[in-house]
C-alpha cells in the first residue's frame, strides 16, 4: 500500500499499512479446483430479483445470482440545482454509479471508486441511456446507484502461493486469461437487468426494458497446445452466464456482455473482450453475440416477472391500476 494522505473523512487503518492475507499451499494438496457446476452451458443461473425493497427512494431492486448480490436505488427524477453553472438540459441527465462494497471481492476495495468501477458505471450508463424516455423529464436528473455486496471472483486462489520442495512456484493459473472479463461481465449483466427493474419500479418511462446477457467462448486446452490455433477454433464451446472456473480442460477465448432490448431486438451496450477470429468474416462474433443475446432473453423473463409481481403488489395495496400504465406494456413485450 502506497503511503497516501489519510482520508480525513473516514477511520483509517494503522499507518504501517496492511496487506491482504496470502495463503500458502503445498503443491501436493494442489489447487483446490472450484466445483464444476452441473449446469448445462446454455442455461443461465437462477436469478433472484425483487423490486421496491427500499422505501425511502423512488425505485429500488435487489438482485442475486449465485454469489453475486447487488442492490440498486434509483433517485429522482428530481430537478437540477438552480445555479448559474447548470446548463439547460432538454432531456433528463442520467448518472450511474457502481460501487463495490469493500468486502465484495477477494482483494479488499477502497472507498473511492477505482477505474474499473467507474468503467462499469459508464457502461451501465450506456446500456440504459437509450432506453429511458429522457425527453419526458427535462431539466431533471435521474441517478442510478448500484452497490455490489458480493461478487464471484477467483477466491483466495489469487492470493495463494504453491510450495514445492521448499521453493515457491507461480504457475499460470487456469483462470489467468480473461477471468476479470468474465467476473466483471457477470456483474455488469446483473447491474443492467437489476437497474431496468429499479427504473421500472421508480415509474420512469422507458422504450423497453434492458436485460443483460453474458456469454463466453471456450476452446480445448489440448487443441491449443498441440496444434495451431486455427484448428482449435473449430470446436468451440459457448457458455452462457459463465462461472469463473472454466469447464474442465477448456480455455476461454472471448467474453461478450451486452444490454439487450428484447422488444426492439436492439443491443444498447456491447462489450467484447478476448480473441474473436475473422477468418469467416464476422461469423465467429455473431455466434458469440447470439449466445449472449440468448442469455439476455432468459434474464428478460425474470425481469418481466419481477415487474409483474411489483404491479400486482401495488394493485393489491392501493386498489388502483394507475401505476400499471408503463409495466402493462412490458408484459406484452416478452421476448
Amino acid at each position: 500500500m502506497a503511503a497516501k494522505a489519510p482520508d480525513r473523512r473516514r477511520n483509517n487503518p494503522p499507518s504501517h499499512g496492511t496487506t491482504p492475507p496470502v495463503f500458502l499451499s503445498s503443491a501436493s494438496s494442489g489447487a483446490v479446483k472450484p466445483k464444476q457446476s452441473s449446469r448445462p452451458p446454455n442455461e443461465i443461473r437462477k436469478i433472484f430479483l425483487r423490486t421496491g425493497l427500499i422505501s425511502s427512494v423512488t425505485g429500488s431492486s435487489f438482485l442475486e445470482i449465485a454469489p453475486l448480490k447487488l442492490s440498486i436505488s434509483v433517485l429522482g427524477p428530481r430537478p437540477l440545482p438552480r445555479t448559474s453553472s447548470t446548463p439547460f438540459a432538454a432531456q433528463a441527465i442520467l448518472t450511474t454509479e457502481v460501487k463495490f462494497a469493500p468486502f465484495a471481492s477477494t482483494v479488499r476495495r477502497g472507498y473511492v471508486r477505482d477505474s474499473s468501477e467507474r468503467d462499469l458505471g459508464s457502461r451501465l450508463y450506456q446500456a440504459l441511456v437509450g432506453a429511458i424516455r429522457r425527453e419526458l423529464y427535462p431539466k431533471s436528473r435521474i441517478e442510478v446507484v448500484v452497490t455490489i455486496l458480493d461478487s464471484e471472483d477467483e477466491g483466495d486462489d489469487v492470493n495463494t502461493v504453491y510450495m514445492e520442495e521448499g521453493k515457491t512456484t507461480v504457475e499460470t493459473k487456469f483462470w489467468d486469461a480473461g477471468r476479470s472479463e468474465r467476473a466483471l461481465g457477470v456483474v455488469l449483466a446483473g447491474c443492467i437487468t437489476a437497474a431496468s427493474a429499479a427504473l421500472a419500479d421508480a415509474g420512469i418511462e422507458m422504450f423497453d426494458l434492458v436485460s443483460g446477457g453474458v456469454a463466453t467462448s471456450f476452446v480445448d486446452e489440448v487443441g491449443l497446445k498441440g496444434k495451431g490455433v486455427g484448428d482449435a477454433v473449430s470446436n468451440k464451446l459457448y457458455v452462457r452466464d459463465p462461472a469463473i472456473a472454466p469447464p474442465e480442460g477448456k480455455v476461454p477465448l472471448a467474453t461478450c456482455v451486452l444490454g439487450y432490448m428484447a422488444a426492439r431486438d436492439e443491443i444498447s451496450e456491447l462489450w467484447i473482450s478476448g480473441k474473436v477470429g475473422t477468418k469467416n468474416g464476422t461469423a465467429e462474433m455473431d455466434e458469440l453475440v447470439d449466445e449472449a443475446i440468448a442469455a439476455a432473453r432468459s434474464a428478460r423473463g425474470v425481469l418481466n416477472e419481477a415487474a409483474k409481481e411489483r404491479v400486482q403488489f401495488i394493485v393489491d395495496k392501493t386498489g388502483t391500476t394507475e401505476p400499471l400504465k408503463e409495466e402493462s406494456t412490458d408484459v406484452q413485450m416478452t421476448g
Partner: protein
Amino acid sequence: MPTLIRQPNSGERQPPPLTFSTSLFRQISPALYLQRHLLNNPPTRPNGRNPSQCRDFTLTTNSLSHAHGSAVVRSGDTAVVCGIRGEILTIAPGDDPSRFESYNGSPTSAIHACGSRGAGGASWGGLVVPNVELSTGCSKKYPLGPPGGLAQTLSDQLHELVNVTKLVSLDSLRIYDGDNDTTSKMKIKGYWSLYIDVLCISLDGNILDAAWYAIVAALKSSKLPFASWNQIEERVFCDPSRYHPISLRQSLPFTTTFALVPVPASAGGEVGEVALLLNDPDSYEEDEACEILTILSTTDLGTAQGDFSQLSLGKLRTRVEKIEKRGGWKLGISQIEDCTQLAASKAARYIHTLAKEQLTPM
C-alpha cells in the same frame, strides 16, 4: 382542497379554519403531526407503535462469500450490511509491538481523534477500523459522494464504542513466529487488522443500533485464517485449511437509542413541555426529535438463557456501560430507569436472536 383568498377586511368574521388531509398534514407540519399522535390516549406514534415499542428486526450472518464475517440486519425499513475483512499488519524489525498492545488508556475524544484520524492510529484501536457508508442511495435525503457529517459521526461513534467496550480481545489478533512455537516467549510478528465496513442499504432512522448490532454479530461469526510468520519467505502466510474465530469479550454490549420529542403538558396549572421518549425512532421521528439518548448496556440472561419465552424483565441483570445524552433537554431519573429497562429487554432480544442465528447450520 378548497383554498380561498380573502381580502383582509376588518370586521369580518373569522375565516373558516383550513383543513388538510392527513398525508398533507404529515408533510407540512411534522412537529405538530407527531405531537397530535403522541397526545392521544394511549400515546401512539404515527407508525402505529407505542412509545416504548421497538421495531422487529431480523439478522442473517455469514451470507457473503468474500468477507471473513458478515451480518445483515434489517430493523423496520432500516437495513445495514456489515462485512469484516482481516488484513495483515507486519511489524517492521525496528517496531515496538507494545504500541499496538495498549488499549489506548482512556479514549477521550481528543486522544481518540488524533489516534484514528491522524496518521492512522498506532494504538490498539487502530487495529479495528469501523467505517459507515451511507452514499449507497439508501435515502433521498442523504447525498451521494464522500461521507458527509452523519457518516463521519457514525464512524467515529462506532470506533469509540469498539474502543471503550474493548469488544475484541487482542489475543486472536496477534500473529506469531511460526517456526519456534515451543519457545517460552513467542515472538509477535504481526497483527490482524480488522476492517469493519457497514453499508447502509436502506435508511429509516436509528442506524446506530442497527450498525452496532451488525458489527457485533459479524464479529461473532467471523473466522480468520490461521496465520504465521514464514522465515524462509520472510512474510506472513495463512493456512487455507485452518480458521479460528475472533474472540470477543464475555458479555456483549448493545446499544439502544431513544428519541426525545417535546410534547406540551400542563403540570400544576403551568403549561410547559415535557419530553416523551420514543424507543427505536424512525427517520420521521428523528427529524423532529430535540435530542437522542443512547444507552450502551450489557445484559446477563442468567438462568433464563436459551429459553426466551420464559424471560421476564425482572430477571434480567443489566449493567449500563455508557449513556450518551448530548444535552439539550432534561430528563427525570425515573425516565432514565425506564429506558434502562427497555434497553435491557432489547439487549436480551438481541442476544437471543444472535444465539439462534449462530446455532442455525449454514
